[in-house]
């Protein structure tokens, strides 16, 4: 029998952390896929805070909101930020699809009876559903308000308010904010855990911060269609 010293440090084949996976695509380790999802998710989380802060100017009236839109249109940073957000979203979706498909194939035979120990939440169990709703909602949302029928940033307030007069748009928008709140409330703390930022004392705080921030953002956005539909 070989001693450990004779074998050297590690006889196992050097791990193929990067390389060509069995599906012919670049394969990253399971943890790196989750890290990609966490970083892109946190990036979009930060964007949502800024996006909400700007959109709440709707409540202040046309001058404030259109002024804000005109200000954004003037900054040369907008296009790079938009491209960055698109890349974040695509990378988030790509890693999510890869991770979720892997998860679905990891247990081919289901249990006849399965109970939870009470640690998972409705939010954590519905991440992929929320992601799917948002993947449909966000392109529609961008198409409607960015490329919608308006004449420059001076008229954006009118476009948004007219759109929210349509009950289908107002309630569709409002409905999509529920999966958003669920998605963010689990995703925030989960991202920190994935990035390795967790300690026993930090954990309940991260969970609480995720739930509070996630639902505050969702409720903030939820106010807008209701205000547009009922408020005028």
């Amino acid at each position: 029998m070989q001693s450990v010293a004779e074998r050297g440090t590690l006889t196992a084949p050097r791990p193929a952390v990067r390389g060509t996976g069995k599906h012919g695509v670049m394969a990253f380790s399971s943890i790196l896929k989750k890290v990609a999802m966490a970083l892109t998710g946190l990036g979009m989380f930060l964007f949502l805070i800024g996006h909400l802060a700007g959109n709440l100017l709707l409540l202040k009236g046309p001058d404030s909101f259109n002024g804000y839109a005109a200000f954004l249109a003037k900054i040369p940073l907008v296009v790079p930020v938009e491209i960055g957000l698109l890349l974040l979203a695509l990378l988030h979706i790509a890693s999510a699809v890869s991770v979720t498909l892997g998860n679905w194939t990891a247990r081919p035979q289901r249990y006849a009876v399965k109970r939870t120990a009470g640690s998972s939440t409705f939010a954590s169990r519905t991440m992929w559903i929320g992601g799917l709703v948002l993947a449909v909602f966000i392109p529609l949302h961008v198409w409607m308000f960015k490329y919608g029928d308006h004449h420059g940033p001076q008229e954006l307030y009118g476009l948004v308010m007219r759109s929210f007069q349509n009950p289908l748009i107002a309630f569709g928008y409002a409905f999509a904010m529920i999966p958003l709140g669920l998605h963010l409330s689990h995703g925030f703390a989960s991202a920190f855990q994935t990035l390795g930022i967790n300690r026993p004392r930090l954990r309940p705080r991260l969970r609480a911060a995720g739930a509070v921030l996630g639902w505050l953002i969702a409720l903030g956005f939820l106010v807008l269609p209701f205000w547009g539909f009922f408020g005028q």
């Binding site: 001693s3 450990v4 010293a5 050297g8 440090t9 590690l10 196992a12 050097r14 791990p15 193929a16 952390v17 380790s29 399971s30 943890i31 790196l32 896929k33 989750k34 890290v35 991770v99 892997g102 998860n103 194939t105 990891a106 247990r107 081919p108 035979q109 289901r110 249990y111 006849a112 009876v113 399965k114 109970r115 939870t116 120990a117 009470g118 640690s119 998972s120 939440t121 954590s124 169990r125 991440m127 689990h186 703390a189 989960s190 855990q193 994935t194 990035l195 390795g196 930022i197 967790n198 300690r199 026993p200 954990r203």
Partner: protein, 247 residues
């Protein structure tokens, strides 16, 4: 107490399995769950039937051999116990108990309630060891280890590799197990020489075995008979990231 058991019976790895109902009458409340299965098996044998196959060894909760899904939970109701430490007094007269093997692509059924957990062995082989100098053992106190690190390493080392974490995870993920093994060695100076290659090799072995990913739900931690904490998974992620960056 009289019980109705619905037990997964599967003759072999390639055979089709199904839940079979057995009446288990007159089971003593003080019997352990495995002793209850022993009683049922001796009756099955007396009737000339094939006894229910299940894994077990020490029967005192420290070896990690036993384990099955009992009414949808690994090691059954209760916390901090393995299947052998589960007693029938936790159940009531007249209860129906559904008993299934741990299920995961990486844990194929061998027979009835016995699953192959060799995937865990492959993960350990990939990096769950340290280099030591040959010769006489060094004096134990020559390597200083901070007390908190020793405590955290010992907590992680409590993992017995039973597979309950994989069994309960909705993704059949093995990260709690891998994180315990990584943490146990990463926290100690003895684990330092292979630290980075271990964090890459064990994760690669885990991925190759076909386990799912971590959704950070914490069901594994809640079901772990040894109370391995999710904080270990955060450490595994840090170790793997660090190793990837420094590779």
């Amino acid at each position: 107490m009289d019980l109705t058991l619905k037990v997964w019976r599967q003759a072999g790895p390639k055979e089709k399995g199904r839940l079979v109902t057995y009446e288990a009458k007159g089971i003593p409340e003080d019997a352990s769950f495995l002793e209850m299965l022993d009683i049922v098996n001796s009756r099955l044998e007396a009737q000339g039937e094939e006894p229910i196959a299940f894994d077990h060894d020490c029967r005192e909760g420290i070896c990690g051999s036993c384990g099955c899904m009992i009414n949808g939970r690994p090691h059954g109701p209760g916390q901090g116990i393995t299947t052998c430490q589960l007693y029938m007094r936790k159940f009531h007269h007249g209860d129906t108990i559904v008993i299934e093997p741990f299920r995961a692509r990486a844990f194929p059924v061998v027979k009835d309630l016995v699953v192959a957990r060799s995937a865990f062995d492959k993960i350990i082989q990939a990096g769950g060891f340290i280099s030591v100098n040959t010769g006489s053992a060094p004096e134990a106190n020559t390597i200083p280890v901070p007390k908190p690190n020793a405590e955290a390493a010992m907590d992680a080392a409590a993992c017995i590799g039973c597979g309950a974490c994989v069994a309960t995870c909705k993704n059949a993920s093995a990260v709690l197990f891998v994180s315990a093994k990584i943490s146990h060695l990463a926290l100690l100076p003895q684990g330092e020489p292979e630290r980075e290659r271990r964090a890459l090799a064990m994760v690669a072995a885990m991925d190759a075995a076909g386990f799912g990913h971590c959704s950070n739900e914490g069901e594994c931690e809640a079901e772990c008979p040894k109370g391995i904490s999710l904080v270990n998974i955060a450490r595994l992620n840090r170790e793997h990231l660090r190793a990837t960056v420094r590779k």
